[in-house]
Amino acid sequence: MPSAVKESRGDRWFLLFNYMYLLFALVIVLYPLVYIISASISDPRYVSSGEMWLLPKGITFEGYARVFENSKIWTGYKNTIIYALVGTAVNLLVTMPAAYALSRKDFVGRGFFMGMFLVTMFFGGGLVPSYLLVKDLGMVNSMWALILPGAASIWNIIVARTFFQSTIPRELQEAAHIDGCTNLRLFMKIVLPLSLPIIAVMALFYGVGHWNSYFSAMIYLNEEAKYPLQMILRQILVLQEMGSEMTGPVSGEVAQALANKADVAALVKYAVIIVSTLPVIAVYPFLQRYFVQGVMIGSVKG
C-alpha cells in the first residue's frame, strides 16, 4: 500500500526485520501442521526413520483407509460430538445467567457469591473425593460425569461478567425497567442478543475443552462404547510407546499383541490426529469474526 509519507531509512529497516520476524513465526507455526499432514500420507517407515521431514515420501493412503474402516474411531467421534454439543449447551446455560447476575450492581450478595465462586478456583476436592462424589451421584459410566462436574468454569464466568459489565450500560437496564420490562425478559431479549460475541467465545472455549478432554473419560467411563475420540486416540498413541518400555518379565503373547498394535499405530496415528482436529480447525474461522468484534468493542467506541 503506497503511503503518503516517504519511509525513512529506519522505517525500512524496521519493516525488513518485521517481515523476517513474521516469516520466522509463520514457519514455526506452520511446520508442525505441514509435517503432520505429510506424515499422514507417507509410508511410516520413512516417518520413523526421519527421512520424511517436510514433504510426503512413499505416498500411501493406507492410514486413512484404516481410520475410515475402524468402527472404534467413529463411535468415539460420535460420542465426542454428543459430549461437546450437550456439554457446551449446559456450560452456556449455567455460565451466561451466572455471569450476568454477577455483573449487576443491584444484585444483593454479589460480593459473597463471587467470593464463594473464587474459593473453588483455588481449592478443589482432589481426585478421590471427586470420584466418590460422582459415584454417589450415580453418574459413573454415564456422559453426565463428563459434563456436570465441570459445568461452570469460574474463569469463564469472570470473563463473561467483565464483558457484561463493560458493554451493557446501566442506563439500558434502567430504560428497560421504566418501560416495564422484567429482569428475565431484559436478559433474554436485550442482553443476550447484544452479547453474541461473548457467547461465541465461550462456546468456543468450552467446546474445544470438551473436544480435547480425555481425563474425566478415563476416570469415570468403564465401557469402550462410551469413550470419546481423544480416549481412543490416546490408546493408539500411548500403546506404541509401551512395547519398548515394559519392565519385568514379559510373556510372548503380550509382546506379540503389543507389537501388532504398534504396527497399526505407526500407520494410523497421524491420520487420526488430522481427522480428530479437523472439525475444530474448520469451526474456528466462523467464530473468529466474533473475536475481532469483541476486541473492537472496547477500543473503538471510546
Binding site: V119, E223, P249, S251, A257, A259
Partner: protein, 533 residues
C-alpha cells in the same frame, strides 16, 4: 479495604470448615458398608460339577482390556456364563490407563468383586491384603479349587512365591513353567550371516567383535553403501539383561548368584566388563550413535531398511519385517574374560497378581470355583484358544490333539475377539497339551533354539519374594536416586564421557548412596524365601 479482607477471611474459614465436615461425613458410611466375610450364599454353591451356582449370580469384574471387543460379546465369556451360572459386569480399563484407574479404585474404596489380569504389585498385595481389602485365598483354595490346589501341592516353590509375609495368599498367578525368556533375547540378521559366510555363530565376545567389524566393513546388505549399523539398541534397556549374562550377571538390578549371595548389579566386576565392551564398540563405530536417543520405532525402521546385524526383540521379524523365518538365528550367550560366563537370566515361570477377590464380593466360594476352572486343561483351552470349531478342532480328543481351522484374515486378531486372554497377563496355567497339534514350524524352531542356546546357562535371577512394607519403602527411597545415577553413568561410560579409569570412584559413590544396603535388604528377603522351603 480492611473490611473486605475480613470478609474474605470469614468466607475462607467457613468454606474450609465445610469441606472438613463433608469429608468426615462421607467416610463413615463407607466403612459400615463392608459385608461380613462369611457368606450367606454358601448354600447356593455346588462344590462339584456345573453349574457352579444354582441361582444365577452377577459379580463385577475389573480387568485390563486390550480393547479388541466388548467382553460381554465374547464367545468365551458367554460360554463361561452358560457353564457356571456366574455373570460378570465389567468395569474394564484400557491398557494405557489401567494403573491410574486401579489406584483410584483402591483409594476410593469402590472395589469390584474381582480383579482379573490386574497385575497387582507385590506392594499392593501386601498393603491391601493386610488392610483386608483383598480376601485371603488359601482356605478357599483348599475347599473349592482342586486344580489350583493340585498345582500348588506339586510345586511348593509356587506356593512359596505367592504367599505374603503374613502367611496369606492374596492373589493367583499366571503359571508358565516352560517360559524361558525374561524379555526378548538378541538375534542375528540371517541375511548378514549368510552374506559373510558365517557357518558358525560367534561364541565369545571377541568373536562377536570381529563379526561386527566385518559387518561394518564388508557391506553385507550389498547396497554399495557403508550404511550398516552392526549393533543398535533403545537406550540399552532392551539388551542390557541379555548382554550382562556374558559377564556372569543374571539380572539388571539385583540377582542371586550360584552361592545364594545377592548382588547389586551396577557395582559388580562383570558390569565393568560389560561397560568396557560397549565402550569399545562405541569407539570403533560398531554401535548405533543414536542408541541413547532413539525410540523403538526408529530402531525398527533401521531393521526394516536391512541395516542391523544384531539387535534385541521378541521375534526377529518384529524388527526386520517380513514373515517368521528360522534364518534369523538367536544369539548364543557369549563367553567373556570373566570365569563362569556366560549365564542367562531366565523367566521365573509365573507372573503374580493376575487374579484377586475383594471384600465386596458376596460369593467368594463361587468365584473361587470359577477361577479354578481356568487352571484346568479344559479351561485353559477355552480361554487361550476359544471354543472348539472357531480356530481349531479336535482330531483326537482323547489324546488332546487338535488341528487348526482356517480363518479369514489375521488369526491373532480373530482370536482377540473370541477371548479376553489377549495382550494381558491372565490367571491360569500354560499347559503343554493346550497347543498340541497346533504348533507351527516357527514355534518348534523357537523351542529348539531355547533348548540349545539358553537353557544350558539359565537360572532365575532372583526369586519372586515379598518385601515387607518397610523394606519396600526403603528400597524405593534408595533406588529413586540410584537408578538415575546408574543409568546416567552407564551412558557416560559407554560413550566415553567418563573414562573407565574412574570405575573405583563410581563404585565408591554407589556405596555412599546405599548400594550395599540394597544388597542387604534383598539378601534378607531371599534368605526368608529360602527358609520357607
Amino acid at each position: 479495604m480492611r473490611g473486605l479482607k475480613r470478609k474474605w477471611a470469614i468466607i475462607l474459614t467457613f468454606s474450609m470448615l465445610f469441606s472438613v465436615l463433608a469429608a468426615c461425613a462421607s467416610s463413615s458410611p463407607s466403612t459400615s458398608e463392608q459385608p461380613e466375610a462369611g457368606s450367606a450364599t454358601g448354600s447356593n454353591v455346588n462344590k462339584e460339577g456345573f453349574p457352579i451356582v444354582n441361582e444365577p449370580i452377577t459379580l463385577t469384574m475389573m480387568a485390563k482390556d486390550a480393547g479388541m471387543k466388548n467382553w460381554n460379546e465374547m464367545p468365551v465369556i458367554q460360554e463361561m456364563e452358560k457353564l457356571t451360572g456366574i455373570k460378570f459386569d465389567f468395569r474394564n480399563a484400557p491398557l494405557d490407563s489401567f494403573d491410574t484407574k486401579k489406584n483410584l479404585v483402591f483409594a476410593s474404596g469402590d472395589y469390584p468383586d474381582v480383579f482379573y489380569a490386574a497385575e497387582l504389585t507385590q506392594d499392593e498385595e501386601v498393603r491391601y491384603g493386610g488392610q483386608g481389602v483383598l480376601v485371603p485365598l488359601e482356605d478357599l483354595i483348599d475347599e473349592y479349587a482342586p486344580n489350583i490346589k493340585k498345582i500348588l501341592d506339586e510345586n511348593p516353590e509356587i506356593r512359596k512365591s505367592i504367599t505374603t509375609p503374613d502367611g496369606h495368599i492374596y492373589s493367583l498367578p499366571r503359571i508358565d513353567l516352560s517360559a524361558v525368556w525374561y524379555r526378548g533375547p538378541m538375534w542375528y540378521n540371517g541375511e548378514f550371516l549368510k552374506a559373510l559366510n558365517m557357518d558358525k555363530i560367534p561364541e565369545t565376545t571377541e568373536e562377536l567383535y570381529t563379526y561386527l567389524k566385518r559387518v561394518k566393513e564388508e557391506d553385507p546388505n550389498g547396497n554399495g553403501q557403508a550404511d550398516e549399523i552392526p549393533f543398535s539398541s533403545v537406550k540399552l534397556d532392551d539388551v542390557r539383561m541379555f548382554m550382562l549374562g556374558w559377564w556372569g550377571i543374571y539380572g539388571e538390578v539385583i540377582y542371586a548368584d550360584k552361592n545364594h549371595k545377592v548382588n547389586y548389579t551396577p557395582m559388580q566386576e562383570g558390569y565393568k566388563g560389560y561397560l568396557t565392551f560397549l565402550n569399545r564398540l562405541w569407539n570403533d563405530g560398531l554401535m548405533d550413535k543414536e542408541t541413547f536417543s532413539q525410540t523403538d520405532d526408529q530402531k525398527k525402521s533401521k531393521g526394516k531398511n536391512n541395516q542391523l546385524a544384531i539387535f534385541s526383540d521378541f521375534h526377529p521379524y518384529f524388527t526386520l519385517g517380513g514373515d517368521p523365518n528360522p534364518e534369523d538365528e538367536m544369539m548364543k550367550p557369549l563367553k567373556s574374560e570373566i570365569a563362569d560366563s556366560p549365564v542367562y537370566g531366565k523367566h521365573p515361570g509365573l507372573s503374580r497378581g493376575a487374579f484377586a477377590i475383594t471384600n465386596s464380593n458376596k460369593a467368594p466360594e463361587a468365584t473361587m470355583r470359577w477361577i479354578d476352572y481356568l487352571y484346568s486343561y479344559e479351561g485353559a483351552v477355552l480361554f487361550d484358544l476359544g471354543p472348539e470349531g472357531m480356530l481349531w478342532k479336535y482330531t483326537d480328543k482323547d489324546n488332546r490333539v487338535k488341528e487348526t481351522v482356517p480363518v479369514e484374515g489375521d488369526r491373532e486378531e480373530f482370536r482377540a475377539t473370541l477371548t479376553p486372554n489377549y495382550g494381558i497377563v491372565t490367571p491360569g496355567i500354560v499347559n503343554n497339551d493346550v497347543q498340541k497339534g497346533l504348533k507351527t514350524d516357527y514355534d518348534e524352531f523357537l523351542i529348539k533354539e531355547n533348548e540349545e542356546k539358553l537353557l544350558p546357562y539359565a537360572k532365575v535371577p532372583y526369586p519372586l519374594v515379598y518385601l515387607t512394607a518397610e523394606e519396600t519403602e526403603e528400597i524405593s527411597k534408595l533406588r529413586s536416586d540410584l537408578d538415575t545415577y546408574v543409568k546416567q553413568m552407564e551412558a557416560k561410560f559407554v560413550i566415553g564421557q567418563e573414562p573407565l579409569t574412574n570405575w573405583d570412584a563410581y563404585v565408591e559413590q554407589i556405596k555412599k548412596m546405599g548400594g550395599e544396603r540394597i544388597e542387604e535388604i534383598y539378601q534378607a528377603a531371599y534368605d526368608r524365601w529360602n527358609q520357607n522351603q
